[in-house]
C-alpha cells in the first residue's frame, strides 16, 4: 500500500511494534475482522521453574484497509496505545494491495511519538 498523498483525519492506522504485546484485543474488537496478528511465545530467562513465564513476541501484523471501516475500535481498545490514527491515506492498484503489513504499519507511526 503506497501513500496517496492526500490527508484525512482518519487516513490510516499505524502500529508501534515496540508497544504491541500481541495481546490480540484489537483483533477481537474489530467488527469486520480486518486485523491479523501472528505471534509466538518465548520463555522468560530466569523465571521460577515452578511457574515458567513466557512472553508473547509479535511476528506479524496486518490490517486489510480494503475491509477496514475506519471505526477506530482497535485504536480505542488497545491497552498499550500501540495503534494510532495517522493522516496519510493509502492507495493501491488492486484490492490486495490495500493490505498493509507490519513494516508498513510501523513506518506510518508518527516520528517522535
Amino acid at each position: 500500500m503506497s501513500a496517496s498523498g492526500t490527508v484525512a483525519p482518519r487516513g490510516s492506522i499505524a502500529l508501534s511494534p515496540a508497544d504491541c504485546t500481541a495481546c490480540m484485543i484489537c483483533v477481537r474488537e474489530c467488527p469486520v475482522w480486518c486485523i491479523r496478528l501472528d505471534s509466538h511465545e518465548e520463555p522468560v530467562a530466569g523465571s521460577d521453574p515452578r511457574r515458567p513465564r513466557t512472553r508473547a513476541v509479535l511476528d506479524g501484523f496486518e490490517i486489510d484497509f480494503a475491509v477496514c471501516m475506519f471505526c477506530g475500535a482497535c485504536v480505542t481498545a488497545c491497552p498499550f496505545d500501540a495503534l494510532a490514527w495517522v493522516p496519510e491515506t493509502g492507495s493501491a492498484i488492486d484490492r490486495a494491495g490495500l493490505k498493509a503489513e507490519l513494516s508498513e504499519l510501523a513506518a506510518l507511526w508518527p516520528i517522535g511519538n
Binding site: T21, A22, C23, M24, V27, R28, E29, C30, P31, W33, I35, R36, L37, D38, S39, H40, E41, T54, A56, V57, A73
Partner: protein, 163 residues
Amino acid sequence: MTDLGGGQEAVAVAPQDWAGALAAAKSAGHVRFGFLTAVDDGPAGLRVLAHVASADGAATLLLVTRLTAAVLDSVASVYAGADWHERETAEMFGIVFVGHPGLDPLLLPPDFNGHPLRKGFALPSRASAPWPGASGPGGSGRRRATPVGAPEGWEVPEPEVGG
C-alpha cells in the same frame, strides 16, 4: 412527548395508533418525511422509528413504537416517501407493513434468504471465514471470546493456522 432540545421532539406511540399518529403529525405541520426504519432490540423486540419535520426543517419529530409482532400499519398513504423506507425496513427486519401498495424488496436480490438486520442473522461469509481472534496471545488458544456483534450461540470457526 420528550423534548430532545434544538427543536427536536420524540414521542412514543402504541403500534395500533401508528398510522393515526403519523397522520396527526402531518396535519400539525410536520409535512417533511425524513426516514422510517427499525431497530432489533433482541429480547425486547422490534422498534420502528419515523422521523418527520416541519417544512423549514426547524422542528423535527421522532415517532417510536415498540412492536409485539412484526406487523405494523403502512404510512405510505400519509407520507409518499415512506414507501421505499417501508420496503427496506420490511426486507431487512421482516416487518409486514399492512396496506403498503407493493412491499417488494428494495435493495436485496430476489433470491436472498433471511432478514439481514435482525440480531440473529449471522453474515454467511462469517460462517466459513476463520475468525482471526480465535487464538490467544502466542497462538496458545488460552483465551476465547466471540466476535463483536455475533448472535448468541454462534460458534467460532476454527482458525486455519495454529499459533
